[in-house]
C-alpha cells in the first residue's frame, strides 16, 4: 500500500526514486535486524551463542501485537514483547548452565519452542487490528510524497540507535562491560577474578532476549505492522551472521542492520519505481548477502581476533 502510493509520483523523481525508496525501506526493515543483532551481540560477548533469537523474535511480535490489541497501548506491547524475550533468554541461559548442555542445541530447541508457542497463542490475533506505533514525520517539510515516506522514522528505531551506542559505551567503559567481556573471552580468568560466569551469562542472555523480543514488536507494530504466521523471514537467524560481520561491535551492528535492511527493501523499492518482474528474486537479497558475508569473512585457516574466545563455535 505504501509502495503503491510511492509509485504514483516516482516517475517525477527520476533517478532519485530508487535510493529514496531504498533508504525509506532500509529504515523500516532494519529495525528487527538491529534489535536482534544487539541482543545477540550482547549474548555472544558473554561467551554463549543463542540461536533461539528467531523464536524470541516471533514470540515478541505476537506478544506485542496481542498486548497492544488488548490494552490499546502499542508501547505497552513493546515492553511486553521485551519481557517475553527476557523470559526466553533466561530460560536459554538456565538450560545452558546445566552440566554438558550445548548452547547451540538449546538455541535451536528454543527457536522451535518460541515459534510454536507464538503461533499457538497468536491464532486469534490474525484478524483484529491492533494500534500500531506512529512514526515521527521528519519529512514533513517536503511536498514530495516519496521523500516524506522515506523520512518516516519510528521512535523505536531511534531507541535502537541509542541502545547501540550505549551498549558500546557499556562494553568499553563500565565495570559491567569489562566483566561481561572477560566472561566471554576467558571463563577461567573470570572465575579467578571472583565472578560467577553463569550469572554474568544469565544476565547477558536475558537482556539479549529482551532486545530480540523488542525486535519482534518492531515487526508487528511498525513494519509490516500486523501479526501473521509468515511475519518473520528469518531475521532472527540472519542476525547471527550479522553479528559476525559486525565483529561483535554494537555500533557496527547498527550499520550492518541498515545494510541488511537495505537489501531487504530492494524488492519493494524496485517495485515502487515500476520494476515488477523478479520480485521474488530480489526478495532473496538478504539471504544472498548472508551467504556472501559468511563466505567472504570465513576462513579454514584462521579465526577472528575479535571473536569472543569462549563461544562454542570458536572452540
Amino acid at each position: 500500500m505504501l509502495e503503491g502510493r510511492m509509485s504514483d509520483t516516482a516517475a517525477g523523481l527520476g533517478i532519485w526514486a530508487l535510493p529514496l525508496a531504498l533508504i525509506g525501506g532500509a529504515l523500516r526493515v532494519s529495525g528487527p535486524y538491529l534489535f536482534v543483532s544487539l541482543g545477540e551481540c550482547l549474548t555472544e560477548k558473554s561467551g554463549r551463542i543463542n540461536l533461539g533469537q528467531e523464536g524470541t523474535l516471533i514470540l515478541g511480535a505476537m506478544t506485542a501485537y496481542g498486548v497492544s490489541y488488548l490494552s490499546g497501548s502499542p508501547w505497552l506491547g513493546v515492553l511486553a514483547a521485551g519481557c517475553a524475550g527476557l523470559v526466553l533468554g533466561a530460560l536459554h541461559a538456565w538450560l545452558c548452565s546445566l552440566p554438558r548442555v550445548n548452547d547451540v542445541a538449546v538455541g535451536i530447541a528454543l527457536m522451535l519452542f518460541g515459534v510454536g508457542i507464538a503461533f499457538f497463542l497468536g491464532k486469534p490475533l490474525i484478524q483484529p487490528p491492533a494500534p500500531r506505533l506512529s512514526p515521527i514525520e521528519l519529512g514533513a517539510w517536503s511536498s514530495i510524497a516519496p521523500v516524506r515516506a522515506a523520512l518516516e522514522i519510528h521512535g523505536l528505531l531511534l531507541l535502537g540507535v541509542v541502545a547501540a551506542f550505549v551498549m558500546r559505551f557499556v562494553f568499553r567503559r563500565t565495570r559491567w562491560g569489562l566483566v561481561l567481556r572477560v566472561a566471554g573471552e576467558d571463563a577461567d580468568a573470570a572465575r579467578a577474578l571472583g565472578y560467577d560466569v553463569d550469572r554474568v551469562r544469565l544476565v547477558a542472555t536475558a537482556i539479549g532476549g529482551f532486545f530480540a523480543g523488542v525486535g519482534g514488536s518492531f515487526l508487528s507494530l511498525v513494519y509490516p505492522g500486523s501479526w501473521s504466521e509468515g511475519l518473520s523471514s528469518g531475521q532472527g537467524l540472519m542476525a547471527v551472521a550479522l553479528v559476525i560481520f559486525a565483529r561483535w561491535d554494537p555500533v557496527k551492528c547498527l550499520w550492518t542492520s541498515l545494510l541488511f535492511g537495505g537489501a531487504g527493501a530492494l524488492g519493494p523499492a524496485l517495485q515502487s519505481i515500476g520494476i515488477l518482474g523478479g520480485y521474488n528474486l530480489y526478495a532473496t537479497a538478504p539471504y544472498v548477502l548472508t551467504f556472501v558475508i559468511m563466505i567472504a569473512t570465513s576462513s579454514a585457516r584462521r579465526t577472528f581476533a575479535d571473536q569472543p574466545a569462549e563461544l562454542t563455535v570458536a572452540r
Partner: protein, 546 residues
C-alpha cells in the same frame, strides 16, 4: 580488613606478614594429596617449594589460595588465623598468585587487564584517571610494559611480567609463583627472579617460588621446603642444602645424580658424560634426510607465523629447535604433522616431496610426537589399544579382506607395546584419556616408534612429566636416533635441547636465526637469540627482507 587498592597506590608500609600453613592435609577420595604439611614463609624472604609433579605443591598452594579447603590444618597470616574461601578472598587478604598458565584475557589490552583485576571497580571506569594512576604505578616498577598493547600480541615473557606486575598492582604482600620461569628465556628468568628477590630484600613482599630448577633455588631463594608424595620431606636454608641433597629429598633418596633429567641438574657443565651423549660420532650421521626450504605458514589469526624456515636434518642426528613459545615452533610442527597448511615452501624427505598425508607419511616412514599428545595425537575416549593402532589399523596385517579390522591383532600389538614400553594402564581397553600424562606420552611414543622410523618429529616430548618419565623418553628418542632416524626436536626447554640435540637451531619470529656450534653451545648466547636480541636488525627491516 584488607587494604583496598586505590587508583593511586600509596607506598607500602611495614613488612609483609608472616604466612604460616600449619599441618595441612587434603584428601581426594582415597588419595592423600597433602599429608600433614607445614610451611612457614618469613616476611621478606623468598621461599622455594621443591617437588616432583604430583608431590603436592599445587595442592598446598591451592589450599592457601582458597581454591581448595584443607581437610585439616590451619593457615595463619600475621597474627590472625585465616581461611581463604576463594582466590578473590585470598587476594583481599594480600596473598596473590602467579599461575603457570596465564590468567590474562588475550583479547583485551594490558591496561584493561590490570584495571579489571582490581576489586571494587567503579561502575563507570574513568580511563583517563586509570591511565594516569597506572603510569605513576609503572614509574615505580623495575620494568616497563606497553599498557595499550593487546595481550594476545605479547610474548610469553611479557605476559609473565604483567602477571607479576598485576600482583604488585593489587598490592599483594605474599606472592606465590608457580614455575614462573618455564616460559622464559634464561636471561628473562634471571631478570624476573632477581627483581622479585630485590623486592623481598627491600621488605616489600614475601615470595613463595614453586620450581623444579635447582639453579633458581640456589641463586634466588633464601629457604626451601621439599615435598614428596604429599609429605614434607625436607626444609632448610638454601645455604645449608646442596642441590644433590635436595634432589635426594625429592626423589626419596633413591636417585643417582646421573639419572636426573637435565632440568634438575644444578649446572649444565657438571653433567655426566652419558647425559651429554649427542651422537656426534662422525660415522653415525648420514645424509640429509629432511630438507625444509623456505617454509611459510600463518597462525590462526592469519598472521605469518613461519616466515621462511630453512633447515635440514640428517639421519642419525637430533636437531633441536629452541624457541620461546609463540615464535612459530608450534606452527612448524603442525605443518609437518598435517594440522596446518603451509602457504609457501617445500619439504623434502628422503629425496621425495613430502606432504603430511597418511600415505606419504607411511611411505616415507615419517613419525610425529606432537606436544600435548592427548589432545594432538589421541582420541581420549578410545581405548589404549585402539589409540595405539591409529597409525596402522588399515595396513594389511591388521585387516582381513582389505577392510575388516582384526581386533585380535590390534590387541596383540598393543599388549606387546604396553609391556615393552612399561605403560601403566589398568588394561589395554581402558580409554587412553584416563592414563597419566607420562603413560599417554609413552603410549604415543610406542605407536610412533614401531617399525622402521626414518624421521621423527617431536615437540616438547617431556612437558609436564616427572623425572623418571623424562629420562626414559629421552632414552627412547636417543635410541631412535641411533637406529638411524632423523630427529627434529622442538622444545621450549633449553636444558632438554642441550642434553639431546646434536645440532641446535634457534627459532625466533618464525625464522631460524642462529645455529649453535656443535661443541660448546653457550646457553646464554642461545638464550639471547631466543629472546630475539641476537640479530641486530630492526623489526621493520626484517619485514622488508622477507
Amino acid at each position: 580488613m584488607s587494604a583496598v587498592p586505590s587508583p593511586v597506590a600509596p607506598p607500602r608500609r611495614g613488612s609483609p606478614p608472616l604466612l604460616e600453613a600449619d599441618r595441612l592435609s587434603k584428601r581426594f577420595g582415597n588419595f592423600l594429596a597433602l599429608d600433614d604439611v607445614s610451611l612457614r614463609v618469613e616476611p621478606g624472604r623468598v621461599h622455594a617449594l621443591l617437588g616432583e609433579n604430583g608431590a603436592g605443591k599445587s595442592t598446598l598452594v591451592k589450599c592457601i589460595m582458597g581454591y581448595l579447603t584443607p581437610d585439616a590444618g590451619r593457615i595463619r597470616l600475621g597474627d590472625r588465623e585465616v581461611l581463604p574461601k576463594s582466590p578473590r578472598h585470598a587476594q583481599s587478604l594480600g596473598i596473590g598468585m602467579v599461575y603457570q598458565h596465564f590468567t590474562l584475557v588475550p583479547n583485551m589490552t594490558v591496561r584493561e587487564n590490570l584495571v579489571l583485576s582490581r576489586p571494587r571497580l567503579p561502575f563507570v571506569v574513568d580511563w583517563a584517571t586509570e591511565r594516569a594512576a597506572l603510569a605513576s604505578f609503572l614509574a615505580r616498577m623495575p620494568f616497563q610494559v606497553d599498557l595499550e598493547a593487546p595481550v594476545r600480541s605479547l610474548s610469553a615473557g611479557e605476559k609473565q611480567k604483567i602477571e607479576i606486575l598485576k600482583q604488585l598492582y593489587l598490592e599483594s604482600r605474599v606472592v606465590i609463583l608457580d614455575e614462573p620461569t618455564s616460559v622464559l628465556t634464561p636471561a628473562e628468568a634471571d631478570h624476573v627472579l632477581s627483581m622479585l628477590h630485590q623486592m623481598a630484600r627491600a621488605g616489600e613482599i614475601s615470595v613463595v617460588l614453586i620450581t623444579h630448577k635447582f639453579r633458581e633455588v640456589t641463586q634466588f631463594a633464601d629457604e626451601v621446603t621439599v615435598l614428596r608424595r604429599g609429605r614434607k620431606v625436607g626444609h632448610g636454608g638454601v645455604g645449608d642444602l646442596t642441590p644433590s641433597a635436595m634432589a635426594d629429598m625429592m626423589m626419596g633418596g633413591a636417585s643417582k645424580s646421573s639419572s636426573l633429567p637435565p632440568s634438575a641438574r644444578s649446572s649444565e657443565h657438571e653433567a655426566p658424560a652419558d647425559e651429554r651423549d649427542r651422537g656426534t660420532d662422525e660415522g653415525a650421521i648420514g645424509h640429509a634426510r629432511v630438507l625444509i626450504d623456505d617454509l611459510h605458514a600463518e597462525d590462526d589469526l592469519g598472521v605469518p607465523a613461519l616466515r621462511g624456515v630453512t633447515l635440514e636434518v640428517r639421519s642419525g642426528e637430533i636437531v633441536g629447535v629452541a624457541a620461546i613459545a609463540g615464535n612459530g615452533q608450534e606452527e612448524l610442527v603442525e605443518v609437518l604433522a598435517g594440522q596446518r597448511m603451509k602457504t609457501a615452501g617445500t619439504v623434502t624427505v628422503s629425496g621425495a616431496e613430502y606432504e603430511p598425508k597418511r600415505a606419504i607419511m607411511r611411505a616415507l616412514n615419517v613419525r610425529c610426537l606432537p606436544e600435548e599428545p592427548l589432545r594432538n595425537a589421541c582420541v581420549p575416549t578410545m581405548s589404549v589399544a585402539d589409540n595405539m593402532a591409529l597409525r596402522v589399523f588399515d595396513e594389511p596385517r591388521y585387516t582381513a579382506m582389505g577392510w575388516l579390522l582384526s581386533r585380535k591383532k590390534i590387541a596383540q600389538t598393543a599388549t606387546t607395546l604396553v609391556g615393552e614400553y612399561g605403560i601403566r594402564a589398568p588394561s589395554i581397553h581402558t580409554p587412553i584419556g584416563r592414563l597419566s600424562g607420562g603413560n599417554v606420552q609413552r603410549a604415543v611414543l610406542a605407536r610412533e616408534l614401531e617399525g622402521k622410523v626414518d624421521v621423527l618429529i617431536a615437540a616438547n616430548p617431556c612437558m609436564g612429566l616427572d623425572f623418571a618419565a623424562v629420562a626414559e623418553i629421552h632414552a627412547r628418542i636417543r635410541a631412535a636416533r641411533d637406529r638411524g632416524a632423523a630427529v627434529l626436536l622442538v622444545s621450549a626447554d633449553l636444558d632438554e635441547i642441550l642434553a639431546l640435540a646434536t645440532r641446535i637451531l634457534v627459532m625466533s619470529e618464525g625464522r631460524i636465526v642462529y645455529e649453535a656450534p656443535l661443541e660448546g653451545a653457550e646457553p646464554a648466547v642461545i638464550g639471547k637469540y631466543m629472546a630475539g636480541h641476537g640479530a641486530h636488525v630492526a623489526p621493520d627491516e626484517r619485514h622488508a627482507s622477507s
